[in-house]
Symmetry: C2
Subunit: 226 residues, 2 copies
DNA sequence: ATTAAAAATTTCGTATACGAAATATGTGTT
DNA sequence: AACACATATTTCGTATACGAAATTTTTAAT
């Protein structure tokens, strides 16, 4: 399943840079992406920029407007919710698989991860918190040994990250999140799959609830008129 | 969530054509994709071909070889299994959502779909059977009203289709499949979610078992020596 | 006849060029 | 001033061009 490690092409590098720019909010939802400007600022030709934009479009990070060019996709609460809903089924399933397949040193790995999680909480850096949060869940996916889960969730995560960065501006109560992560790991290490699944389900549901609350809060706030 | 309908660009058209060529087995696993040849045969320049290949790479249908260019990805039983495993969690979940959200005319729609399914079985055309099978499941995803499920599954389905066409060569006992589909719908229409979920789970598990059996059968057959 | 090195060819990634459609600017009319 | 229409400019998608790396073919040496 692993591909040969190639030095990244300009197209891929451009994709990574643009994806990050979109997810971090440098491009606001609805903002147009000008190929010439991007090419100039990255000091590449328009060719890799154009290709990268096709990739972004395929993954839903930009979209056509019916006019010229593309814009960073508007963030829809619907999409955000659909991802969380999706996770509420997939994450507990990943736990079940992880229970069956986790490696011998899973406990140590988990301990280190939880430590890093709490460090991130203390750091008060939202970007750091979002990053480590994903690493925690990715660790579970890896234990689950199912490549489809891993690939699928990685793309979804970028969408979540974007919503967090752009709409919610910051992570949603990272401290309670890591308490919940700990509970999941505890149950999993004790071999109690049912409880581990339930804890994960509860974790996702609580995260959803909080995220939705923030979303409504932000949407309720009056937006400036141009 | 729906994007504005644009007349498809050459890049997108090329992507669709190549994806289909790969999934139908016109390009065998491991076979190289020559950009010049493809461009010439489609009567376009190499530019859209190059872009399309980037898209295929991102979705795992072709991969780098460490040498020049890309090849149609080898089909790994692992990937095939990982998709089925994934489905065994997602499909029952889609049923649960569909139960809550299916439209008023779901019953009629289902009836027509089942009818088409049986027609496909009678037709004895594997391509037709694979296509209608997907349509059935896609109908459920649509009822489920979760765009992430729909998008994710569409890509996965191409991978499944490819395995079917290239490795398994034909659909796996389509007739029992539609008996199972009928059972799912019956339970769903009676409002018995639990049973509908179980039937769907059983359906996927049986499909997996059959596909795996075919896979082993094919792999066991001695391959010709060059 | 093998093998090694050199030269020629292929083929990719990326840059540049071009035409068309979309958008912006200007000009004239009322 | 407000609008209609013409003209200029921008910007995209795609074609073509170019340089470099990979691959094949040729040539030369043992």
């Amino acid at each position: 399943m692993q591909t040969i490690e190639q030095p990244k092409s300009l197209t891929e590098q451009t994709y990574d840079i643009l994806l990050n720019a979109i997810c971090s909010g440098e491009f606001e939802p609805g903002e147009r992406l000008n190929q010439d400007e991007i090419a100039a600022s990255l000091k590449v030709s328009r060719q890799p920029v154009n290709s990268a934009i096709s990739l972004l479009k395929a993954n839903g990070f930009v979209e056509d407007t019916g006019r010229r060019g593309v814009v960073a996709s508007p963030i829809s609460p619907e999409q955000f919710l659909s991802i969380y809903e999706f996770r509420s089924a997939v994450e507990p399933f990943a736990i079940r698989l992880a229970h069956e397949r986790k490696p011998a040193d899973a406990a140590q790995e988990a301990e280190m991860m939880l430590k890093r999680g709490w460090e991130a909480v203390r750091s008060n850096d939202p970007h750091q918190q979002i990053a480590v949060d994903f690493e925690f869940h990715e660790m579970i996916y890896t234990w689950a040994g199912n490549d489809t889960i891993q690939t699928t969730m990685r793309t979804n995560w970028h969408h979540i990250r974007r919503s967090m960065a752009v709409v919610v501006r910051g992570v949603v109560s990272a401290d309670t999140s890591w308490t919940e992560h700990s509970r999941v790991i505890e149950a999993l290490m004790q071999g109690d799959v049912e409880r581990a699944e339930d804890e994960m389900k509860a974790h996702i549901d609580r995260a959803t609830a909080k995220a939705v609350a923030r979303l409504l809060e932000v949407n309720a706030a009056p937006s400036e008129v141009p």
